[in-house]
Amino acid sequence: MKPFEYKRPSSLEEACTMLAAQDGRVKALAGGTDLLVQMKQGGLELDALVSLRDVPGLDALHLEEDGSLIMGSATPLGAIENSPDVRRAFPGIAEAASFVGSMQVRSRATVGGNLCNAAPSADTAPILIACGSTAVITDGQADRTVLLEDFFSGPGQTVLGPGELLRAIVVPPVPETGFAKYCKSFRSAMDCCTVGVAVYSDFVPGSAVVRDLRLALGAVAPTPIRARAAEAMLVGQELDEALTDRASLEAVADALPISDLRASAAYRKVLVEVLSRRALTAARAWAERGAVA
């Protein structure tokens, strides 16, 4: 590694000022689980790292009164996975967090780092997009918000400008009739995801009729994406087996995977179909259980 400065600001304002300097050769350091690997092995050279460790409030994790979830960007994934609140109100998010790396990685890895690193395969992105989350961005003075699905602009790229930080993620409440789940390929291995599919679905009470639905795909395009054609096919319809199959196939059409070391494009397409089917089937099963009750 080339030498760099290590800074540890104690306020947001200070952090953003530090990040604005040194034209681009400075980065925020959260858990470091992406950054350190890139610097040690990927040839990333920086003049400075700005540690978020001592910036107050960035690791806040709580439920608002209206049921929405606020996650400070520097909240470790381990904290999200183990939070009783998240497990109860957003089990799909807790589960998705638990799929990332290992227990040790999740002690350090943060949700903000996962999103800001902007790997197309980031495991928390699909479920948070499917849940309709918002990214709260700050320049140290004021906040702006963007829908998380608009946060990514390319592999490794986000809409964050120089001197801007992701401050928090806000996940809107899931109604009692809503269900969210993330399906990842081969979670037994410590795997950077080959393909991930997340579904959020809100059903007409007592039925399997879809009122609102988002289907998000990871690792099959330059950024995490929504499978819009599949979604359109599902909204307003009763989710039965035949429709699940058709929509899963349609999701494949939305995917633009590449071939790499981890899987071929063709194989990724198969996985999109399989995982979409698994996610939708889980949603249907949930709705049907609800309908019976």
Partner: protein, 757 residues
């Protein structure tokens, strides 16, 4: 035989230092003035070096030496010196991505890394060849342009008349089987420290499986007397064959140390370990098997093309060994084995647990199932009919002393519930069972033209037994095995024994820990040394207790005269003997594995093996039809141990082998593009993790007839040999598709399933 210590699953003698972090591995050593060495490696698969400019690196603050080919002896090296083909540092030509070009010694890691990046090398690219078939084409680029072709080594073995047998037998199956490069991935990467002393002697600390032969190798390539080289081992973080032959980082560190006058350490990064740490040799095998209606296998005919990579290393020895196992697994009267190793512009292969046998067994044991299928008989039945249970000499000359192949098959098939599972009606899940047999050496080999070992024991008045053995412990537990053998024979407890094996200055000359050899060879020597020490002790005791040595009883650290109720503490006797009577008590033991009559290296073939070990693995798998994922649910491994010395450790050897076998079968393959390894990290080159492991049941089958210590055989390698074909056979049982290539990946399975639908 009633034993106190042999056969018990006692904890390892080194468990406590390992579990507290006190155990020092070579990478943990510190010494004053230690410098960091780093190697500049070729970025090209094949190129001529036009010029090297090291001036910027030399000027960097903190750099103490920069070396290139002109600074090192220009002799070539290989495991077999008469096949030498590898420079310490490449002067003219680089032959694979990772080949050593230059090296630096600096005060710390970052400086060394920067210095390496400042060395400028001007290359002229040469055409490269990555595939064995392309390498054999006329006009293919030559990996070594001083050689006539890329075919570097060939072996032919012929027993009986295979052509005639093939023409006359009732059933023939044939097929081509392919395996790829598997990496050892020891958790501790290859590393060393080199240091010269004022007497011009070189000491190398390294994690070597064979310190004595590596000492010779270092002396040979540096052109210095052997007596001036000393190799010291520490605790070792795995070996599996990768640390058998000297790595050129040893002479490189030595030269850097000589120039700087300070100790120099070189440690492989994980990426270097993947890309230059050597691999299992990839084999392409065309095989024919012929059988009669009654199931008797009468002929086997195999052609192997082995991928050597850029240099020989252990290639010739590996393929020779394959031929011996090919001829021995079943007693087949007509056998032809034709093989060649072929140079390609890739990382070279080397020894890897199983030594050419897992590849071969994948072909032979897969094909046996194909034969059974063709003949319409149960694969287990076919194997039982051909079980190698002779206590004599097989058609290819293998002398089999003690063989429990049938017992292994019976035990494994029963435990996996073979007949019930074979008869099970399909219930929609894609489950299947498969099994495979294996044979391997259980006692090293006579390949050097000899096979021997020696050990020393001394009893100290303060109450310890020091055992000096060359049975190096790279993790497999040979220190514990040796201590158990010595303790049992001497009549002391395990904790009384202190094992030293780490220093060539101290230990007797030895060929090293390979070929499942240590238990059999060094174990025998240790037993002999313990017997010798026991006799010395008995004599001293007899003198002190005024009795006949023949009447002295030594058991559980107590000494007494037969019939007397007065028991003396063993170490009290030693204390008296040493301090009151001036009688030192020690023992020496040797084991010389006698060569069979008429033995010559070129003709010995399977007579090289002093002791064979048989085994069977039966596995159950489940295939996910949607993703193509093969999950191994259960493995039953029945292996011969002769006599089990340590139950827990024997199981551990087999369980660890199975994990590597599952990797070989389903996950592991170094992927290259234009010769460049793409998966040089654990996230991309997956080895089994804890979630990938099936339930494993290990059955240790004791058998008689071997000449090992207490009747034991080696168990270090056998567990890996049959795993892959057993899995491939189970996958066939599950989905009706036969895979001829490893690893069987998810997309291969999915593709095949699509075709069958």
């Amino acid at each position: 035989m009633s034993t106190c210590i042999i056969g018990k699953g006692l904890p390892r003698v080194d468990a406590v230092p390992k579990v507290t972090g006190a155990a020092q591995y070579t990478v943990d050593l510190k010494m004053p003035g230690l410098l960091v060495g780093k190697i500049l490696r070729s970025p090209h698969a094949h190129a001529r070096i036009k010029s090297i400019d090291t001036s910027a690196a030399e000027q960097l603050k903190g750099v103490l030496a920069v070396i290139t080919a002109k600074d090192v002896p220009d002799g070539l090296f290989s495991f077999y010196q008469w096949l030498a083909d590898k420079n310490i540092l490449c002067g003219e030509t680089v032959r694979y991505i990772g080949d050593e070009v230059a090296a630096v010694a600096a005060v710390d890691d970052d400086t060394a890394e920067e210095a390496v990046s400042l060395i400028k090398v001007d290359y002229e690219l040469l055409p490269a060849v990555f595939d064995v078939h392309a390498a054999l084409e006329p006009g293919a680029p030559l990996v070594h342009d001083d050689k006539e072709s890329n075919s570097t080594w060939s072996v032919e073995r012929l027993f009986g008349d295979p052509d005639k047998a093939l023409a006359e037998c009732d059933f023939v199956v044939e097929g081509t089987y392919v395996t790829h490069a598997q990496a050892h991935t020891c958790l501790e990467t290859s590393n060393c420290i080199a240091k010269w002393d004022e007497k011009d002697r070189l000491t190398i600390w390294t994690n070597a499986q064979a310190p004595h032969t590596q000492r010779q190798e270092v002396a040979r390539i540096l052109g210095i007397p052997r007596r001036n080289v000393r190799v010291i081992n520490s605790y070792m973080g795995g070996g599996f064959g990768s640390k058998l032959v000297m790595d050129v980082k040893l002479p490189i560190a030595s030269v850097l140390s000589r120039l700087t006058g300070r100790p120099v350490r070189i440690v492989n990064t994980r990426s270097e370990e993947f890309t230059t740490g050597k691999t299992r040799y990839p084999y392409t095998m065309s095989l024919k098997t012929g059988a009669m209606k009654d199931g008797r296998i009468v002929v086997r005919d195999l052609t192997v093309i082995g991928d050597a990579g850029a240099y020989h290393d252990k290639g010739p020895a590996t393929i020779n060994f394959s031929s011996m196992m090919f001829g021995t697994l079943y007693d087949v009267p007509n056998i032809r084995f034709q093989a060649q190793m072929v140079y390609t512009n890739k990382e070279m292969g080397t020894a890897f647990r199983g030594f050419g046998n897992p590849q071969l067994t994948f072909a032979t044991e897969s094909q046996l199932d194909e034969l059974a299928h063709k003949m319409g008989i149960d694969p287990l039945d076919l194997r039982l009919r051909n079980s190698n249970c002779s206590m004599g000499t097989t058609s290819c000359g293998a002398e089999i002393c003690g063989c429990a192949m049938t017992e292994c098959m019976e035990a494994a098939s029963e435990a996996i519930e073979w007949s019930q599972k074979k008869a099970r009606p399909s219930d929609g899940t894609l489950r299947g069972v498969g099994l495979a047999n294996m044979v391997h050496t259980g006692g090293g080999g006579r390949f050097y033209g000899y096979n021997s070992a020696e050990a020393f024991i001394k009893l100290s008045d303060e109450g310890t037994v020091t055992l000096i053995t060359s049975a190096l412990d790279m993790g497999q537990g040979s220190h514990t095995t040796m201590a158990q053998i010595a303790a049992e024979e001497l009549g002391v407890s395990l904790s009384d024994i202190n094992v030293l094996s780490h220093d060539t200055e101290l230990t007797p000359y030895d060929l090293g820990s390979w070929g499942s050899r240590a238990t059999f060879m060094d174990g025998n020597a240790v037993q002999a040394a313990a017997r010798d020490a026991r006799a010395a002790l008995a004599e001293a005791a007899a003198e002190m207790l005024e009795a006949d040595p023949a009447d002295i009883v030594i058991e559980e650290s107590k000494v007494w005269v037969k019939g007397s109720s007065e028991k003396h503490d063993l170490f009290e006797i030693v204390d008296h003997a040493v301090n009151a009577h001036g009688i030192p008590i020690s023992g020496t033991g040797q084991f010389v594995d006698k060569l069979p009559e008429g033995y010559t290296i070129p003709t010995a073939f399977a007579k090289n093996i002093p002791c064979f070990s048989f085994g069977t693995q039966a596995v159950e798998v489940e295939v996910d039809p949607e993703t193509g994922q093969v999950r191994v649910l259960r493995v039953v491994a029945a292996h011969e141990t002769g006599t089990t010395i340590n139950q827990t450790m024997s199981e551990g050897q087999i369980e660890g082998s199975i994990a590597q076998g599952i990797g070989f079968a389903l996950m592991e393959r170094l992927v290259r593009q234009e010769g460049k390894v793409q998966n040089d990290r654990f996230l991309d080159y997956k080895i089994p993790n804890i979630g990938d492991m099936p339930e494993i049941e290990t059955i240790l089958v004791e058998s008689v007839g071997t000449k090992g210590p207490f009747g034991a055989k080696g168990i270090g390698e056998p567990g890996l040999v049959p795993t892959a074909p057993a899995i491939a056979n189970a996958v066939f049982d599950a989905i009706g598709v036969r895979f001829h290539e490893l690893p069987i990946t998810r997309d291969m399975v999915l593709e095949a399933l699509k075709e069958t639908r």
